[in-house]
Symmetry: C2
C-alpha cells in the first residue's frame, strides 16, 4: 500500500524532530503501521532553513495553503502554534478532507469545540497527543486505556519550565527571580516566559484533559489559573519541613456539583511518586473508579519527545484505514453529540465553590494572643485546622526580630469560606504582610 503522505506546516524544533525520527526509524515504523509514513511537503516562512532540514527529496514551500491544496497529501501536521493563522489553516485542512495532527494546545483548549465539530462533520481525524505532556501517551491513556472508568480526577505536572524552576528553588534554596534567569540562560524558559510561569500553558493542557476525562466540552475560559511567580523560597522550605513538596499542578476533578478545573501551586505529600518528579519532567496522575490511581511520566517537551507523540498519531491514522469514523476514537473521548448535555450536568465550578485544604503563611507581630485571634477567626468561619507551626522570631527575622511566621495547615474548606476568613485575618493589625495561601492536595 502507498505510504501515507504527510504535509508539515512549520518546521521548527518539533517539525525537525518529526522529520528526523521518521527518517531514522522508518523501517520499524513501517513494520508497525503496515505502510510507510512519508513527509512529502513542508511549508515554512523560512524556506532556506526548511531546506537545510529536509534536503532535496522533500518539496518546500513558503505558503501553507499550497500544502493543504495538494491532493496527494493525506495528513496535515500543524506545528505553527497560536490561535491566529494556525486556526485558519487547521479549519481549511479539515475542509479539504485532510486528517490533522497538531501539538497546538492553546488552539484546541480555546477553539476545540469548533474544530472538532468541523472534523466530525467532514469525517476526518484531528489528533493531538503532542498537545499535552509531550512524549507521554496520556491522551491515549485517557481516551482509550481507561475507557472502563468513571474518571474521578486528573492532576499533572504538565509544564516543564515551572517544574524546573521549582526543583531548582528547592535544591538550591534560591528565589523565583534568580532561578527564572538561570532557566532562561539554559533554554528551559523562553525569553517571554509568561504563558509558562503564569500557568496559562498548564491550563490549556488541563482543559483538554478535563474534557476527555469527563466527557464535557473544552472550557478554557472557565479554568482558574494561578502561576508560580509569587512563590517564596521560604514556603518551599516550610513545606519540606511539613513533609510536602510544592508543584504547579493542573487539576480537574469530578464532584457532585460539577467539575473543578484549576492550575495553581500545590503542596503534595513528599512520599507520593509525583512529588518526586524533578527538573523539566512531566507526570500526570489519573484516578478512575475501577483502576484506582495510575501515573504517567516522561519528557513533556523537546524536539524528539514531542515528535514521538506526533508520529504516534500518524501511525494511529494509518492503522485506521477503512474504519468507520462514526465509531473510531472520538476527538474528545466521548461521542460528540453527548458533550453538550454532559457539560450542563457537570458545569465547571467557580473557584469559590472548590473544596480543598490549605497551607497558610502569615507574617505576624511576635506578641501574645496573635495565634488565638487568628485561630478564632478560622474557627468562626468553620475552617478546621490540621497543624500549626509557630517559628521562633529570631529564626525568621534575625536576632532581636519582633516578627515571626505562623504556618497553618487546614482541613478541607470551601474556597469562598477561606477567602472571607483570610480577608478578616489580613485586616488584623498584628498581621504585617500579605498572607500566603497555597492549596494542598493529598492525591491518594
Amino acid at each position: 500500500m502507498k505510504p501515507i503522505q504527510v504535509g508539515l506546516l512549520g518546521i521548527g524544533t518539533v517539525g525537525s524532530g518529526t522529520f528526523n525520527v521518521l527518517q531514522r526509524n522508518q523501517e520499524e515504523i513501517r513494520r508497525r503501521a503496515g505502510r510507510g509514513i512519508e513527509i512529502a511537503m513542508v511549508a515554512d516562512l523560512d524556506t532556506t532553513r526548511a531546506k537545510q532540514v529536509v534536503g532535496d527529496a522533500v518539496k518546500v514551500v513558503g505558503d501553507a495553503r499550497e500544502v493543504i491544496a495538494n491532493p496527494e497529501i493525506d495528513v496535515v501536521v500543524e506545528l505553527i502554534g497560536g490561535y491566529g493563522i494556525a486556526k485558519a489553516l487547521v479549519l481549511e485542512a479539515i475542509a479539504a478532507g485532510k486528517h490533522v495532527v497538531t501539538a497546538n494546545k492553546a488552539l484546541l483548549a480555546v477553539h476545540g469545540t469548533e474544530i472538532f465539530k468541523a472534523a466530525a462533520d467532514k469525517g476526518v481525524i484531528v489528533a493531538y497527543e503532542a498537545a499535552v505532556a509531550g512524549g507521554i501517551p496520556i491522551i491515549k491513556a485517557l481516551r482509550e486505556g481507561l475507557t472502563a472508568n468513571s474518571i474521578q480526577w486528573v492532576a499533572g505536572i504538565i509544564n516543564g519550565t515551572t517544574n524546573f524552576i521549582l526543583s531548582e528553588m528547592r535544591d538550591k534554596g534560591l528565589d523565583f527571580d534568580v532561578v527564572l534567569k538561570e532557566a532562561q540562560r539554559l533554554g528551559y524558559a523562553e525569553a517571554d516566559p509568561t504563558f509558562d510561569i503564569e500557568g496559562v500553558d498548564a491550563a490549556h493542557k488541563v482543559t483538554l484533559m478535563s474534557a476527555i476525562a469527563f466527557g464535557i466540552p473544552v472550557q478554557f475560559d472557565k479554568a482558574y489559573v494561578e502561576g508560580i511567580t509569587k512563590l517564596a523560597g521560604a514556603d518551599i522550605k516550610y513545606a519540606e519541613q511539613l513533609g510536602y513538596r510544592i508543584k504547579l499542578l493542573g487539576i480537574t476533578k469530578r464532584t457532585d456539583k460539577g467539575v473543578e478545573l484549576r492550575v495553581h501551586p500545590s503542596l503534595i505529600p513528599a512520599k507520593r511518586l509525583i512529588a518526586n518528579v524533578e527538573g523539566a519532567m512531566n507526570a500526570v496522575v489519573v484516578n478512575g473508579d475501577a483502576v484506582g490511581t495510575t501515573l504517567y511520566y516522561g519528557k513533556g517537551a523537546g524536539s524528539e519527545p514531542t515528535a514521538s507523540a506526533v508520529i504516534a498519531d500518524l501511525v494511529d491514522i494509518a492503522r485506521l484505514h477503512g474504519a468507520d469514523p462514526a465509531y473510531s476514537v472520538p476527538a474528545l473521548a466521548f461521542q460528540s453529540h453527548t458533550l453538550a448535555a454532559a457539560g450542563h450536568e457537570l458545569p465547571v465550578l467557580a473557584m469559590a465553590d472548590v473544596v480543598t485544604s490549605y497551607y497558610l503563611r502569615i507574617r505576624v507581630a511576635d506578641e501574645a494572643g496573635v495565634l488565638a485571634k487568628i485561630t478564632t477567626l478560622l474557627a468562626n468561619a468553620g475552617i478546621s485546622i490540621d497543624a500549626v507551626i509557630q517559628r521562633e522570631a529570631d529564626e525568621v527575622g534575625g536576632e532581636g526580630s519582633t516578627q515571626t511566621d505562623l504556618i497553618i495547615l487546614t482541613h478541607d474548606t470551601r474556597e469562598g469560606d477561606m477567602d472571607k476568613a483570610l480577608a478578616e485575618i489580613q485586616a488584623l493589625s498584628t498581621v504585617l504582610t500579605p498572607i500566603t495561601r497555597i492549596r494542598k492536595e493529598e492525591l491518594n
Copy 2:
C-alpha cells in the same frame, strides 16, 4: 447500533469485576464506545456462584463451548487461566470468528505465536491489555503510544506479590519466609506462591513486552528467570546503605548482539521513581530513542483494576467497527509477517552473554589478605570494581566474630565472565558460605 454481545468464560475475581464495572459505568462506556457493551452469557463450572454475581438477566451455563457456539456472541473473554483448557477454548473461539479478550499471560507467553497466527488468519482480534500490569495501559503504550520509537529497553515491577514482600522486608527488616507467610495471610500471595516468588509470572509478562517492544516472536522458553526466595534481609539493608533498593524486575533490552530477556532481583538507585514503587503496586519503565524514558504506574492486579483493562479492550474492539484488520493494531505491535525475520536478526541472548553490573556479598574469614585475594581474582577476569565495603566482624557476626561480609559493586561485566570469577572466589578457603550475587541496573 446493537450493543456488542460479550461471552465471559470464568467469572472469578476478574470476571465479576468486569461484570460489575460494565454495569456501574455502562452509560459512560456507551458514550465512549459509540455502542453498548453487554455481557450476554457467562460460562463457569460453578453456575450457582456465577448466577449470584450476574443475576437473572444473563444466561449462565456450565459449558464454555455453549458460549463459543452462540452466534449472537461477538467477543469471548477468557478468564480461566493456565495453558490447558484455556488454550483450546481460545483457539475454538477464534475458529468460530469471535474476537477474544484475555488476561492470560501464561498462555500468550508460551503459545502466543500459534494463537496470534490463528487470529490473523481468521481476521479477528486477540486483545490482552489485562495480561500485563493489570489496569496500567502498558500494552497500549507500547503498541500504540510509542510507535515512533526504536525502543531501547523495558524494565518493570510487574508482580505485585513479590513487590509487596520486598517492601515489607525492607520496611520491617524481616526475612523472606516471615513476610511470605504474612502476605499469604493478607491475600497478597497465593497458597502456592511458586509462580510469583520464583519469577515465572513476571517472566510471562516481560516476554510479552519484549515481543511488542522489539517486534520479535514471544519466546518464553528463552527467558532467564530467577525469583526472590534467596534474598536475605542483610542484602536489602546493605543495598539501602549504598543508595539502592532491591526490586524484582522484568527486563528486556536491545543490544547489538540481540535481545536480553530476564527476570531477577535487581539493585536500582533509590532516587529513581521506580525504586519508590511500594507494596503491591506495579510500574513499567520504557526507554525509546525519541521519547527518552517514560514510566507507567498503577495497580497490577485485583478485581476492578484488571477489569479496567479487559473493558478497555472491549471498547477498542467496538471502536474498530468496519476497520480493515490488515491495518489495525497488530497483535504483537508489528505486522506479523515481519516477526520471524526480526527474531533471527535479534535473537534472545543467553544469560552468559548479558552485560550488567553486580552487587556481591561474600562471607569471609576476618583475616589479613582476604580482600586482596578476591579483588585479584576479579581483576584477572577483567572485572572492574566500583565500590567495596568491608564490614566490621563484630557488626556482622556479633562480638568476637571471626567472620565478616565483603560487599562489592562492580562495573559492567559479561555474566559469563562473572560466573567464572565467582567460581574461583567461591573455591577460596576463606570464603565461608555461598556468595550472594545480585544484578544492578541504573535505568537512566
